[in-house]
C-alpha cells in the first residue's frame, strides 16, 4: 500500500499539480478569448528556462527564481498577444489557433537558440526525500503542490472579489453584454494574458524542478494540459485543477497495467472518452 502511494500516487499528484497550473491557464484562454492556445506548453518551457537563467546567471536561490520567471513570462505573453493574436481578433478563431502553433514553434526555437537542446537542471546532486510516517516526500514535491493550491486560491479570490476579476468572469459569461456594460475588453484581454503567462511559467518551473529542463518539455505537456482543462469543464478553474490531478495520477497509475511507453497515451484516452461521453466536462463547462 505504501509502495503504491510512494511510487505512483505521490508522483501522480505532483505531476497533476503541474498539469493543473497549465490547465487553469488553458481554461481561462478558452473561456475569455475563446480559442485553443497551442503555444501554452512552449510558454511554460520559456518560463522554466527563464528561471534557470535567474538561478545560474544572477545566482538567486531556486525558489526565488519562480516569481521572477512568472513576471517575465507574463510580460512575454502580453507581448505575444499584442504582436500576433490582437490582429486576428476579428477573424475566425481557427486563424488564431494556427497562429498560436506558429508562436509555439518560435518560442521553442528561441529557447533552443539561447539555451541549447541539452537537458539542464536547477540544482546539482540528489535531493533526499523525508519520511512522513512511511510516505516519502521531497521538499520540492511539497512546494509544487502547495504553490499550485496557493496560486489557484489567489486566482479564485481575485475572480470572485475584485472588480477586474468580475469583469473577466463577465467577459467569459457574455462578451456582448460585457461590452454593452462598458467593460474595456482590451484591458481584460491583457489581464488574462498576465495571469496565463504567470501560470505557464509556474507549471514549466515545477516540471523543471521535479524532472529536468528540456526544450520540448512544455510541448509534451500540451496534450495532458488540454485533456485536464476539458475533463474539468471549460471555463471552470476548480475543474481544471481536478482535471490536472486526474490526468497526472492516471498517467502514473497506468504504468501498473500498461507498458510505460503508453503513459503519454493516457491523456489522449481521457480526452477522447470525455469528448464522447460528457463534452461539458465534469463540472459543466462551456461546450466548444
Amino acid at each position: 500500500m505504501l509502495d503504491l502511494i510512494n511510487f505512483y500516487l505521490v508522483p501522480g499528484i505532483v505531476l497533476g499539480s503541474i498539469y493543473a497550473l497549465g490547465a487553469v491557464g488553458i481554461t481561462l484562454v478558452f473561456a475569455i478569448l475563446r480559442y485553443a492556445h497551442l503555444a501554452h506548453g512552449d510558454l511554460a518551457t520559456l518560463g522554466a528556462f527563464l528561471a534557470l537563467a535567474v538561478v545560474s546567471a544572477i545566482g538567486l536561490p531556486v525558489y526565488a527564481a519562480l516569481p521572477v520567471a512568472m513576471i517575465v513570462t507574463a510580460g512575454v505573453a502580453v507581448g505575444v498577444d499584442r504582436l500576433f493574436y490582437d490582429y486576428l481578433r476579428e477573424r475566425p478563431k481557427i486563424v488564431t489557433v494556427m497562429a498560436s502553433l506558429g508562436v509555439a514553434l518560435m518560442i521553442r526555437s528561441l529557447v533552443q537558440v539561447i539555451w541549447g537542446v541539452d537537458a539542464e537542471s536547477y540544482t546539482r546532486g540528489i535531493s533526499r526525500p523525508e519520511n512522513w510516517w512511511g510516505i516519502r516526500l521531497k521538499d520540492r514535491e511539497i512546494a509544487t503542490v502547495a504553490v499550485m493550491i496557493g496560486l489557484v486560491l489567489a486566482l479564485q479570490l481575485f475572480l470572485l472579489r475584485t472588480k477586474w476579476g468580475k469583469a473577466m468572469r463577465a467577459m467569459s459569461d457574455n462578451p456582448d453584454l460585457a461590452l454593452l456594460s462598458g467593460i474595456d475588453n482590451r484591458k481584460v484581454v491583457t489581464l488574462t494574458w498576465i495571469i496565463v503567462g504567470g501560470l505557464c511559467a509556474a507549471s514549466g518551473y515545477f516540471l523543471g524542478l521535479n524532472t529536468e529542463l528540456k526544450s520540448l518539455m512544455g510541448w509534451q505537456m500540451l496534450l495532458p494540459m488540454f485533456a485536464a482543462a476539458i475533463l474539468g469543464g471549460v471555463g471552470r478553474i476548480e475543474g481544471a485543477v481536478i482535471g490536472g490531478l486526474v490526468v497526472g495520477i492516471a498517467e502514473e497509475l497506468s504504468v501498473l497495467v500498461l507498458p510505460s511507453e503508453y503513459k503519454a497515451a493516457m491523456a489522449f484516452a481521457i480526452l477522447l472518452v470525455m469528448l464522447l461521453v460528457r463534452p461539458t466536462g465534469l463540472l459543466r463547462g462551456k461546450v466548444l
Binding site: K166, N174, L177, L180
Partner: protein, 235 residues
C-alpha cells in the same frame, strides 16, 4: 422640445445590404417612446444602430445634440445611453448583485445609492441578490437586465422587446416599472411586439415598415388610426 436622442434619416445594415432605409425618430427627456411594426420592419435594427452595433451608412444619431454616429460602444455608454438586448441580457453565472455591479463598471466611487435605487425599483431582486441570474425566471431576468442598465444612471434606456415571452402578468409589471423608471428621470425607447398594449402605455410611438418610418404620433393617435390598426395591429 429639446431632443435627448435624435435619429435623422438613418440608413444602414449588418452586411452590404441596408436594412434601415431612412429611420428618423426623436426621444425627449422623461418620455417613453415605443417602436412597433411588423416582423422584419427593422425595429430592433434601428435600436442597435443607436448603439453602434451595425454599419450606419447615412443619416445621423445625436445624443443631447452631440453626434455619436460610429462611436465605440463604451463611448456611447459613457454618453448616457444604455441598451438591454432582447436575449442573453444577463450574466448567467454571476449573482444578481454582481450583474448590477458590472452595469456600473464605468462608475467610480460609492455605488450604494445606485444599488438602493435599483433595488427600490425591483424589490424582487433585493430578495434574490445572491442568486445566480441564470437561475431566475424570465421576468426576473428581465428585471436584472434592466437593473444592470440602470446602474449607470443613463439618460436614456433602450429596451429591445422587454416583454417577449413573458406572461401577461409580468408584461404589465414590466410596463409599470418602465413608468417608474421614466418618473425617476430616465427616458425610455423600446421596441415591442405587443403593439396594442405598448401603444396604450407609451407617450409616443413610431410605426416602422420595411426599414422606414410609416406613421408616428401619440400612443392614442396611433391606436385610433385605422390604417395602423389594419396593417400592424391585426384589426
Amino acid at each position: 422640445m429639446s431632443a435627448l436622442l435624435a435619429m435623422d434619416k438613418v440608413r444602414g445594415g449588418y452586411g452590404d445590404a441596408d436594412i434601415l432605409l431612412g429611420v428618423s425618430l426623436v426621444v425627449a427627456p422623461r418620455e417613453i417612446v415605443v417602436i412597433v411594426g411588423p416582423n422584419g420592419a427593422g425595429k430592433s435594427t434601428a435600436m442597435k444602430a443607436v448603439f453602434g452595433l451595425l454599419k450606419v451608412r447615412g443619416g445621423s444619431i445625436l445624443v443631447e445634440g452631440r453626434d455619436i454616429t460610429g462611436l465605440a460602444t463604451n463611448r456611447i455608454v459613457e454618453a448616457g445611453v444604455c441598451y438591454v438586448p432582447q436575449v442573453d441580457n444577463v450574466f448567467r453565472e454571476m449573482t444578481v448583485h454582481e450583474n448590477l455591479e458590472m452595469g456600473a463598471f464605468l462608475r467610480k466611487g460609492d455605488l450604494s445609492a445606485a444599488y438602493d435605487r435599483v433595488y427600490a425599483l425591483f424589490p424582487d431582486l433585493k430578495e434574490r441578490q445572491k442568486a445566480l441570474a441564470g437561475n431566475l425566471s424570465g421576468g426576473q431576468r428581465q428585471m436584472v437586465a434592466m437593473g444592470r442598465a440602470l446602474m449607470l444612471e443613463p439618460k436614456i434606456l433602450l429596451l429591445d422587446e422587454p416583454t417577449a415571452g413573458l406572461s401577461p402578468k409580468y408584461m404589465e409589471q414590466i410596463f409599470q416599472i418602465c413608468r417608474d423608471v421614466r418618473d425617476s428621470g430616465v427616458a425610455i425607447l423600446l421596441v415591442e411586439q405587443h403593439a396594442k398594449q405598448a401603444l396604450a402605455f407609451a407617450d409616443r410611438g413610431y410605426v416602422l415598415a420595411q426599414g422606414a418610418n410609416r406613421h408616428e404620433g401619440t400612443g392614442a393617435e396611433l391606436l385610433a388610426d385605422r390604417e395602423v390598426a389594419e396593417m400592424f395591429l391585426g384589426g
